[in-house]
């Protein structure tokens, strides 16, 4: 079928394999076929297009949508019913609660005139969710042809490999088909396919080249790349539209678009910023450095003492308790510099995450870093609890452990740096230099925080 190749690009061999598997309408095919491949490798698209173009009776079900047994089975049966009934009148909705009923009703529905002699195809998309449903569902679908004694083939589409599906006690093995990932050439071909008609194909192809140059090492997902291509094309065309450059002026176009794409990687790609915000930004032509993503907003305006409590919590989580005397007391006496940190602590401080600390220690550190006298009032304690609710601190251990609650600081160094920027003038003297050094440090060293 010539027009199928135009609709489905770069998948000729998979299409031909599938077509030969399907065979003639009335032939029995493999009872089950398992198709796997990366996201956006065309599994759903190719299967759907092929079944529609060849006009084979099929039912397409998504296992994320139909996440319970009943939803799944009823949707299959009702869709089949719609296929088989020729009159437009509403036939009653079929209800089905167990797989046993499903097989029985399936036999009845497929006995209809127009479905009787042909292979019926059931396609289960995102089939990895079947593993979490009832245990008999996956083995049952694998041999539906035998159980129902009808001409039916079940296709499973998934990203996860077949070995992870196989139940412990074994099952009927399906025919496994792999959809290979698109090579960079294929990606270029597919992406260039949807160029807007007002520009030439070469112009768009050059743009796609630049886009792939920036994003290919990070992401090969076709859906993401298409989304980015559509969003950033207006910016790319801007110099041409404004008349500053011609279509062939590649260097100028590259210089214009490159910082924009780099910014896109940090924002739109990470979904920090929605695509409509991004488009608005492009229209307004503001400096992309100004853009604040979602993560920036987690740094909410905290009250005065809460900022210090957080800083104290971070210090308590990442410094071992033995070092407190040295860091926080004014006159701490001599401490041997060598063997400062025990061997196992060298790797653990920043790699294993925060350690829990008792409330008393937190308060002790707090008193030593705040410039003014802090009284242990209910105000302070309630701020600690608010921080727990905001999930900036977590309570470790049981809720009902009233004396000696232990906490853990769950914010990152970047967050603390952002807070420290505000608090640097309010710390006890001697501490402001420390905090300032945090702000300039690129990454915390492994030998301790300070």
């Amino acid at each position: 079928m010539p027009h199928l190749e135009n609709v489905v690009l770069c998948r000729e061999s998979q299409v031909s394999t599938l077509r030969s598997l399907f065979g003639e309408r009335h032939h029995f095919s493999f009872p089950s076929i398992f198709i796997y491949g990366h996201t956006a490798s065309g599994k759903t698209y190719v299967t759907q297009t092929l079944l529609k173009t060849l006009e084979l009776p099929h039912v397409f079900v998504n296992c994320v949508e139909c996440f319970t047994l009943r939803l799944l089975l009823e949707q299959i049966l009702n869709k089949l019913n719609h296929l088989s009934s020729s009159e437009d009148g509403c036939s009653t909705e079929i209800t089905c609660e167990t797989f046993n009923d499903f097989v029985r009703l399936f036999k009845q529905v497929t006995a209809a005139e127009n479905l009787k002699d042909q292979t019926v195809y059931i396609v289960l998309d995102k089939a990895e969710y079947l593993r979490d449903m009832e245990a008999n569902l996956l083995p049952g679908f694998l041999r539906l042809q035998e159980l129902a004694d009808r001409n039916v083939t079940v296709l499973f589409l998934s990203e996860i490999v077949w070995e992870k599906f196989r139940p412990n006690t074994g099952c009927f093995e399906p025919f496994v088909l792999y959809f290979p990932d698109y090579s960079i050439g294929n990606l270029q071909k597919i992406l260039s396919h949807d160029h807007p008609p007002e520009y030439s194909a070469d112009f768009y192809a050059a743009y796609i080249n630049i886009l792939l140059g920036v994003f290919y090492t990070v992401c090969r997902d076709l859906k993401e790349l298409r989304h980015l291509a559509v969003l950033n094309f207006p910016k790319y065309c801007e110099p041409v539209v404004k008349g500053e450059a011609s279509e062939r002026d590649t260097r100028k176009l590259w210089r214009n678009i490159e910082p924009h794409l780099k910014k896109a990687m940090q924002t739109v790609y990470l979904r920090e910023v929605s695509s409509s915000q991004w488009e608005k930004l492009q229209k307004d032509d503001t400096d992309p450095g100004q853009l604040k993503g979602l993560s920036a907003h987690t740094h909410v305006e905290l009250p005065y003492y809460s900022k210090f409590i957080l800083i104290a919590a971070y210090l308590a989580s990442y410094n071992p308790a033995r070092t407190d005397k040295r860091f926080f007391l004014k006159h701490h006496g001599k401490i041997k510099k060598t063997n400062f940190l025990k061997k196992h602590e060298k790797t653990s401080n920043h790699l294993l995450g925060p350690k829990p600390f008792p409330l008393d220690r937190l308060l002790a550190i707090l008193y030593s870093i705040v410039d003014s006298r802090v009284a242990p009032t209910a105000n302070i304690f309630s701020q600690i609890t608010s921080l727990v609710t905001l999930q900036l601190l977590t309570l470790v251990g049981h809720d009902d452990q009233l004396d000696g609650p232990k906490y853990k600081c769950t914010v990152s160094l970047d967050f603390i740096r952002a807070i420290a920027r505000w608090s640097v003038w309010l710390c006890r003297p001697g501490w402001s230099t420390v905090v300032r050094s945090w702000l300039t440090a690129t990454s915390a060293s492994q030998d301790g925080e300070l």
Binding site: G23, Y178, R220, M265, L352
Partner: protein, 335 residues
């Protein structure tokens, strides 16, 4: 196995007396997942009085007592024998209390309606699964079907299955077909490609023997490959201890900070997204269920690929940058 049973039943049914009298009930462990459903299915198939159309009336207790009464009323001389065929027999043994099995075996051992129970299963240790009271009522007659033919015999059987029988309408087609059956292949037959050839054989065997995980690794981006290599190094240094994202990121940074590799200097959230993609593909797995308390960067994970798989996949990886490949094979002492 099932063909054997079906064949035997067909032969049996050819005897006139048998087909008039004997009732059959076919059950399957995959469909009847508990005794309640099984019971309803039995009543449906035997078409007892509490069945109207397809619907079975009454509760589980009522159905059970009705069925047992119906079966117990008879004796060996006057009532219809029933053959119960239980497919996936091991699944029935997982039902609660094995009620169905107990009752069926009980009836078969006592002087009531003559029934025969045939169970089909793939498990050799099926008797261990049965409870004591069920096992004692079992007749302990087992038939093992083993596939013990060697390769030449296998080929012979295969050829016989695929060859068209003599009565096939198109004589010429049948002859050519049987010639080509010398080759083994799967499915390349369409209207325009009616004969199997040797090329199909090679392609089909390739399809069957692919290493699926290697295929998935083939489709990863360069950043994701770098993360996998970082994990491999961590596994080598720390001998398969679980790792978290922060450790992997650190290891990756060590690679990036060497002068020539600054092209890989991506922001931490971008690396995190790649890490999460690997988790979605189930190439890495968390050690325990996610708890809301811990940050995602510090959750302990483990890598589900071993070193040989990684190195093989790297060989086949398209356009693998040389520095990445060198990093993968380098020893760790000088880092």
């Amino acid at each position: 196995m099932r063909e054997l049973i079906n064949h035997a039943l067909k032969e049996l049914m050819e005897i006139e007396e048998v087909s008039e009298n004997v009732l059959q009930v076919h059950l399957n462990g995959l469909l009847q997942i508990n005794d309640k459903i099984a019971l309803k299915e039995i009543t449906r198939q035997l078409n007892l009085e509490n069945v109207v159309g397809d619907k079975v009336f009454g509760s589980f207790a009522e159905n059970l007592s009705f069925l047992l009464e119906a079966l117990k009323k008879g004796d060996r001389t006057s009532s219809c024998p029933v053959i119960f065929i239980l497919d996936e027999f091991d699944l029935f043994a997982h039902h609660k209390n094995q009620t169905l099995l107990y009752n069926l075996f009980d009836i078969s051992q006592s002087a009531q309606t003559p029934i025969a129970v045939i169970g089909l299963t793939c498990r050799l240790d099926i008797l261990e699964l049965l409870e004591k009271r069920v096992k004692s009522r079992f007749s302990h007659r087992q038939i093992h079907l083993m596939n013990s033919f060697g390769f030449p015999q296998y080929v012979k059987i295969f050829k016989e299955q695929l060859s068209l029988p003599a009565e096939f309408p198109d004589k010429l087609f049948a002859e050519k077909w049987n010639e080509n059956v010398q080759m083994l292949t799967l499915n390349r037959v369409t209207a325009s490609h009616p004969f199997m050839t040797a090329i199909d054989l090679m392609e089909a065997s390739q399809l069957c023997s692919m290493d699926s995980k290697a295929n998935i690794v083939h489709g990863l981006s360069v950043l994701e490959i770098c993360l996998i290599i970082a994990m491999k190094h961590l596994n080598d240094i720390y001998e398969e201890e679980p790792f978290n994202f922060q450790m992997v990121y650190n290891e990756f940074q060590k690679f990036v900070q060497r002068k020539a590799h600054s092209v890989y200097n991506f922001e931490k959230p971008v690396v995190m997204k790649a890490f999460e993609h690997l988790q979605q593909l189930e190439l890495i797995k968390p050690m325990e269920r996610t708890s809301g308390n811990s940050q995602r960067e510090y959750q302990l994970m483990k890598l589900l690929l071993d070193n040989t798989q990684i190195m093989n996949a790297l060989q086949k990886y398209p356009n693998c940058p040389t520095d990445v490949r060198q990093w993968a094979t380098s020893s760790l002492s000088w880092l």
